[in-house]
């Protein structure tokens, strides 16, 4: 079952995919379905003995391309719609124990090309309005498979958070002589400097002034590129370098492979004009506030949508920057 139900109180779709209850849950390493199929071994999702990077359709998708019209018709107030979309799994490596932080800049650079390719291909499908590239890492985030991988959801709508961000950027642009909101935020971070964590030639990583997680970090393209597919070769290399620096810094700061959510915000693929509005960037939300304490999205955050933080971004950015710089020296 894949269906959407409209929440008129928040004006957003909720997706239902009941078959996901049966998905594989933390199998032992020797039975990882994302490993290559070894000669004589059990068949995994990958019918080859080795691979560099692979992408396949999720076996337990939240959206499917041929979702039928829901049997529950809903009502004019609460309509339903087919859960139509595409869900892919992106395997970063055939090494079960690898992490993005531990990968070479070359491999991350290759991964950037794969992400860009998927953005272009999925975005060209007529019913796909938004290509959302993300990674959930670590059991604290709720991952069910440890093999290094990310996911892509090709949504039939622009999801609420990017939509809200795009709306803010469009309004800012209309009120500020066609200026890009994200370009101006980045300029502010550069001028202040206190929250900048890592800088490359084309990308900057920083803890935003308004971070919603203690060690949240954003990686912004310096140029106002709408999507990952618009990045030049040099920009893709630099994105790989800055991502690596940030991830190594995270692990060094906490002393273990840090769980996180990594998400990419970029231009929708609904055919609209997002020039000067969409500005490609990557956002990281690690759940840890210390090595052994997590930041929970509790009553205020979940029920009121109001985040309450117990550390200032300037403080966390300082310690994260030291870890990044220490790893580089």
């Amino acid at each position: 079952l894949n269906q959407l139900r409209w929440d008129p109180t928040l004006r957003e779709w909720v997706a239902y995919a009941t078959h996901r209850q049966d998905r594989t849950f933390l199998p032992p390493a020797e039975y990882c379905p994302l490993d290559p199929t070894r000669p004589g071994g059990f068949p995994t999702e990958v019918p080859r003995a080795s691979y560099e990077i692979a992408v396949f359709e999720n076996r337990f998708p939240s959206f499917v391309p041929d979702a039928p019209e829901p049997e529950e018709g809903g009502s004019p107030l609460t309509p339903t719609a087919p859960g139509r979309g595409i869900c892919e799994v992106v395997l970063y490596s055939d090494d079960h124990y690898a992490t993005l932080a531990g990968m070479s800049e070359r491999r991350i650079r290759n991964l950037v090309d794969v992400w860009a390719d998927r953005y272009g291909e999925l975005g060209s499908v007529d019913f796909v309005d938004y290509v959302f590239i993300f990674e959930n890492k670590g059991e604290a985030i709720g991952v069910t498979l440890h093999h290094p991988h990310g996911q892509i959801y090709a949504y039939p709508f622009i999801p609420p958070r990017p939509a809200k961000e795009l709306e803010a950027a469009r309004e800012y642009r209309s009120q500020n002589e066609d200026r890009c909101l994200h370009c101006d935020l980045l300029s502010q971070e550069h001028e202040d400097g206190g929250r900048v964590v890592a800088k490359g030639d084309h990308f900057t990583a920083f803890v935003p002034f308004y971070a919603h997680f203690p060690y949240e970090a954003h990686v912004y393209a310096r140029r106002c590129a709408p999507s990952i597919a618009d990045l030049s070769g040099g920009e893709r290399w630099d994105l790989a370098r800055v991502l690596k620096k940030l991830l190594v810094g995270y692990d060094r700061l906490f002393g273990f492979s840090l769980p996180y959510m990594m998400v990419m915000h970029q231009a929708p693929t609904d055919g609209g004009d997002y020039g000067g509005v969409a500005h490609f960037h990557v956002e990281f939300y690690p759940p840890n506030r210390t090595a052994d304490k997590l930041k929970y999205l509790a009553g205020s955050e979940t029920g009121a949508g109001a985040y309450v933080m117990d550390a200032l971004p300037e403080q966390t950015a300082g310690t994260l920057r030291e870890a990044v710089e220490g790893a580089a020296s």
């Binding site: 019918p47 359709e57 391309p65 794969v114 499908v125 019913f127 070769g233 040099g234």
Partner: protein, 57 residues
């Protein structure tokens, strides 16, 4: 249209095929037994050197 919205007639159902070869990236698409696709990406490293490595050397 197939599951990804592309024309199924353009695709092989069993054997791998070279689909694109640009900037050193080779993309091979296969269809698995249950109908889902899998795409293998490989890279020819000489095609795209790190510009920082070039300028450093």
């Amino acid at each position: 249209l197939d599951r990804s919205g592309n024309n199924r007639a353009d695709k092989s159902t069993a054997e791998a095929e070279d689909v694109t070869r640009e900037t050193g990236m080779v993309k091979e698409r296969e269809t698995k037994e249950d109908g889902r696709y899998i795409i293998f990406y490989s890279f020819e490293e000489e095609e795209d050197k790190d510009p920082q490595e070039s300028s450093d050397s």
